[in-house]
Structures are given as C-alpha cells and as structure tokens.
C-alpha cells in the first residue's frame, strides 16, 4: 500500500483560485500515475489553509507561503513547498524526498 493512500492532501495559494487549482491538478496527475488514492484532495486560499492545515496530512504551497504554515509540522502535517506549482515532476520528486512516495 502506498504511503499516501487514504491521506488528506491540501493545496494552498493566495486566492485559492489560480495556482492552488493548478497544484491540485498536478497532484492528481502524480496520484494517478502512482496509483494512489488519497482520502481527500482539495485546494483553498492560504487564509483558510492556515487554520485548516492541521486537519491535513500533507499541505502543498508555493514557496512564497512557507512562513504562513510555520509550526504546522508540530501537528504532524508535512509541508511540501513548491517552486513551480504546476510541475507534476517537482511534486513527485518532493514527495519522494519527504519519504511519502517510493
């Protein structure tokens, strides 16, 4: 069983309308390619993500917003900052590095 199966994933950007949606699409691609079925995958603005993060296993965001999510790791949430939010390759590599993907 893959490590992200049944996990809750969240993608955040400033407005919750542009890049977080692109991230969600790219994450979907990675999940499909690796045959992983997360329990939840959604996107939202950082303003909402800031408080919602603790309820998710993995939070993806553009590197600009890393500071916003400082401390969320204390609750066991893994933060995956991205340089190119629409790159499924970068997402795949980052998840491997975090030990969440084989």
């Amino acid at each position: 069983m893959a490590k992200l199966d049944g996990k809750k994933l969240l993608a955040c950007c400033a407005n919750g309308a542009g890049s977080s949606l692109m991230m969600e699409n790219a994450i979907k691609k990675v999940m499909k390619r690796n045959n992983i079925k997360p329990a939840e995958l959604r996107h939202c603005p950082v303003s909402e993500g800031k408080t919602a993060a603790r309820n998710y296993d993995v939070v993806f965001c553009a590197r600009t917003f890393v500071k916003t999510f400082e401390g969320c790791e204390k609750n066991g949430t893994v933060l995956i900052p991205l340089k190119n939010v629409m790159s499924d390759k970068e997402i795949e590599a980052a998840l491997k590095e975090a030990g969440l993907l084989d």
């Binding site: 407005n15 603005p45 553009a62 600009t64």
Partner: protein, 160 residues
C-alpha cells in the same frame, strides 16, 4: 469544444503591446482591457490584482516569463469567467521574489472567475500550456490573433 486559446481569439480577448517602460502595475491594467471591452470585468478590476501582488509578492509570475494575473473567485469586478491574453515585446519587470530571484513576464493570461466549472476547465488547459515550452515561445512571439491559433496548431498540448 473550443480550447482556451480559440476562445481567446473568438472573443477578442487579446492584446499586443511593446512594453517599453511599462511598469508591472500598468501591464496588469493593460492585460485586463480586452476583458473590459466586452464586459467580462469592470474597468477597475485590475486594482484588485495589483493589491494581491503588493500583498503577496510576484507569485503570479511563473517560469518561462509567464504571468497569470488573477484574484479570488467572484471578486468584485469579475462579471463573467474569461481569460485575457497579452504579449509584451519587452519583458515586464515584477521585482524579486522571496528568494531574491528576479521575476519578469512577457506572456500574460489574466483570469476572471465567476463560474467554477468553466474556470476549472480554463486552469487545466492553462497548466498544460504553461508546461509546453515550444508553445509558450511561439505565443511570446505572436503579433496577431492568427499567430495565437497557429502556435496552438504547431505545438499542441497532449490530451489527458
């Protein structure tokens, strides 16, 4: 169904500028004008996009000098869902990001969002376009709407 680029040409949601001496704020305003023309957004819609960039930095500028000016869904001034395309001959300077990396853009896709389904379609297609380097190079060199359609034909994005 029309692709997002075909839709841009059909609705005349495009603008070609020289960009010499143009600030990023002015570039964002210019990029909304084709959307203002047919009532997709209001004249002052651009001010919200500028406010967003001032607050969060130039995160709307991606790799390959692509800018995607946008605000949240159903922002004041967004009357319909649409994508405004703009090419600037000169690179527009957006300053530096949090890593001190210079951000510049010459290809603009400006978003107005009122309908989540249409918006999702647009975003999915734009992701594919932004990852297609040959297509982006061709779009950056476009000077007419015909060039936009030719670029898409010459460098199609892979179907999902």
């Amino acid at each position: 169904m029309a692709t997002v680029l075909q839709d841009i040409v059909e609705k005349k949601h495009y603008k070609f500028i020289d960009g010499e001496g143009v600030t990023w704020q002015e570039a964002i305003r210019l990029s909304t004008l084709s959307l203002v023309a047919d009532g997709t957004v209001t004249e002052d819609f651009y001010q919200q996009i500028i406010a967003c960039v001032e607050k969060y930095g130039p995160y709307i500028v991606f790799e390959h000098n692509i800018a995607m000016p946008h605000t949240q869904e159903n922002a004041d001034g967004a009357l319909k869902t649409g994508v405004g395309f703009m090419v600037s001959k000169k690179l527009i300077d957006f300053g530096v990001d949090e890593d001190g990396e210079e951000k510049k853009a010459n290809v603009f896709f400006t978003l107005s969002t009122t309908n989540p389904d249409e918006h999702l379609q647009n975003i999915s297609q734009l992701s594919e376009i932004f990852m297609n380097d040959d297509l982006i190079d061709a779009l950056a060199a476009a000077e007419t709407p015909e060039d936009i359609l030719k670029a898409e034909k010459d460098f199609p994005c892979e179907e999902e």
